[in-house]
Amino acid sequence: MLFNSIDFAIFLPIVFTLYWFVVQKNLKLQNLLIIVASYLFYGWWDYRFLSLIVFSSLLDYSIGLGLSKYEDKTKRKVLLLLSLFVNLGFLGFFKYYNFFLDNFIDAFSLFGSNISIQGLNIILPVGISFYTFQTLSYTIDVYREKLKPTEDILSFLAFVSFFPQLVAGPIERASNLLPQFYKKRRFVYSNAVDGMRQILWGLFKKVVVADNCATFANQIFDNYSEHSASTLVFGVLFFTFQIYGDFSGYSDIAIGTSRLFGFNLMRNFAFPYFSRDIAEFWRRWHISLSTWFRDYLYIPLGGSKGGLVKKIRNVFVIFLVSGFWHGANWTFIVWGFLNALYFIPIMLMKKNRVNTNDVAEGRLFPTFVEFRQIIFTFLLTMVAWVFFRAPTVTDALLYLKGLFSKSILTVPDNLINWLITLAFIFTLVFVEWLQRGKEHALELHDIKISSPLRWSFYILIFFTIFWYGGSQQDFIYFQF
């Protein structure tokens, strides 16, 4: 079920009503309702893959209990490895089997031996990368004794399948989300209203900005060889805002929806396109994944401690794995590699933690230096997005080559058709710039605006979503 669909617009009020008016007095029933609603939400795409979620959940629940019973290190390690093997095994099979097979065949053909192995027609279960990482965070934390294993199976099943964030995150840590299922939730008016605002802004980003940008980005990327350099620049620009609007929009809707049910999810995006360097960008983009890799991969590898070679190795590992997490294609690996290349000089100069505050804090406008830094970081990410979007590395390189021609100084043919979408991008940037110190762009509780004006603003956004929404597209991150 898509957040931007009529199905979800019917589903959400029904679940909300049952949750707060029918089963509100019984915590177990509330959790059971969340499980049923989440399985229904997921099964709307493909009910066959529900068994995979149920299996992973039951396995990690049992492993958690097993870890609490055994004190013997070897047995505990075996249990952890079992969880890693099964969860990553599912992920590897569904997501990477054909990729490895194709590359295996290609590698052999380089040495002159042609082998013929038929690939499998595998459908990637929606959200597998997200819930696999979420459930793994539980077993790893229990193994590390940072978290007590749960005996409450309903809470655990609800934690793994919680519908607002099941298919595209934020990837929650068990230590943050699981305890919220143990306690009775309270309806807090201000949280619910703020949640609704966040949903509204998320829908604007997804339906108005991302879906409209998608149309143009697809047109340009699909026929990049026929376009002028200036058009190609707009193509990347549209994709840059498509992916941001799409994914951060999804996260906003997920977080907002959770707040309606009395849950607090972690922040996933913190206005990343206002970053002054690439390290800041990665602290602000897909925060739940970056911190997951930081805590479960980068730090165990040694992090930024140790010698120069080790430090550089660790940065490459984390960025390459992050790239590969996004998809079984060399383009994502190159995208990760490129980001590692951007990051390493900053790290070596020990400037990766310079920009930890909000840009232009307490000021309306950035300084010239800040502005220059923002633009430079933005351009670097745009170049990397070319690899993320292009179907192959060769296409990405040809696209980039196409940017370096005299036609960069020409006016793109379709500029007039893009004006409305460019106006929406401008609105997004403008509103988010004004609100960059907040959790999300429509956090308004400390701003004094009269009710009629505030309501007019909501209604204006609501109408804009309906009037100017692009053709309905799946969320990009579903494929990951």
């Binding site: 309806f187 008016y189 209203v193 209604i459 609501f462 109408f463």
Partner: protein, 294 residues
């Protein structure tokens, strides 16, 4: 919780009030100026893009062309019903009848397709009675709701344009576009065959137009506008099906079939639509033919 729920309902209430208010506003505006057409125009031309591009009512000066791209017979029926009521002088209806109009594929493409309902509802809502509205609502409720939500946008458009009489009901569209060559190449590559089955709904509305015309003493003339020989060649089975349908159901009415009208490529904008000079030539010829028949 109570305040939250009540605010949600208030918000939705205001939202839908604005939508329904603008539907009403549009309707009042349109009715203020009415659907009156100049008294000496007694010929009404209805249909889809074929007649929209082919018949120039500036040349055929006792006619008014209200054809509109992708208009199904349902919308043509709504138009004739309202127009005749306000313009009793209408005594002739030229109605487009081409190989594609009755095909089942077009029932979905033109009648129940979401984007079509959305774009047509805001313009044609005023022509509908409750049962017409219910007919669309049953077929595609989400599209109808979206169409209602779009109506304030149309109100704003009407106000900004300042042309409050603008009804967008349809008109002759002169076209300088030239994509004949491209279409001919595409036709060679894409030989998709459409299902040779007619839509019962479209047939039903065609017969409603016929009944209405008979009851109101309107002479009904079917017209098939010129198409390119290559197009005709690829649609022979559809044309045959239409001819059979005409002979068995509509033969009491005149059918000006110009699907074989001999025109050079310069007169076409694409395979099945005329350009401005094509329309000029064809309209002049059509006027003569109609006069000859009267």
């Amino acid at each position: 919780m109570r305040i939250f729920i009540s605010n949600c309902f208030k918000y939705l209430g205001i939202f839908f009030l604005i939508c329904l208010g603008s539907l009403l506003f549009n309707s009042i505006l349109i009715n203020y100026y009415g659907y009156k057409i100049v008294k000496d125009k007694n010929v009404l031309i209805l249909g889809d893009s074929h007649t929209e591009y082919a018949i120039d009512d500036n040349i055929y000066n006792n006619s008014i062309n209200l054809s509109h791209s992708a208009d199904s017979y349902f919308y043509s029926y709504l138009k004739i019903r309202k127009l005749k009521k306000e313009n009793p002088q209408i005594d002739t209806l030229l109605l487009a009848l081409s190989n594609h109009n009755l095909l089942i594929e077009y029932e979905d493409k033109w009648l129940f397709n979401t984007s079509n309902i959305k774009s047509k509802l805001r313009v044609y809502a005023d022509l509908m009675n409750f049962s017409d509205f219910l007919f669309l609502l049953k077929a595609n409720p989400s599209a109808v709701i979206q169409g209602i939500i779009e109506s304030p946008k149309y109100s704003i458009k009407l106000l900004i344009k300042g042309s409050l009489t603008e009804r967008d009901l349809g008109s002759f569209q002169p076209s300088e576009r030239n994509s004949l060559k491209k279409d001919l190449e595409q036709r060679k590559k894409n030989k998709k065959i459409r299902a040779l089955e007619y839509s019962l709904i479209e047939i039903n509305y065609l017969f409603k137009i016929i009944d209405f015309s008979i009851k109101n003493n309107i002479e009904l003339i079917f017209i098939s506008t010129p198409i390119h020989p290559e197009y005709k060649k690829s649609k022979e089975k559809e044309i045959q099906l239409l001819n059979n349908f005409y002979s068995s159901n509509l033969s009491q009415f005149n059918f000006f079939d110009y699907s074989e009208f001999d025109l050079a490529d310069d007169y076409f904008q694409d395979l099945d639509h005329l350009n401005t000079i094509g329309a000029k030539l064809f309209t002049t010829h059509l006027m003569k033919e109609i006069k000859k028949n009267h």
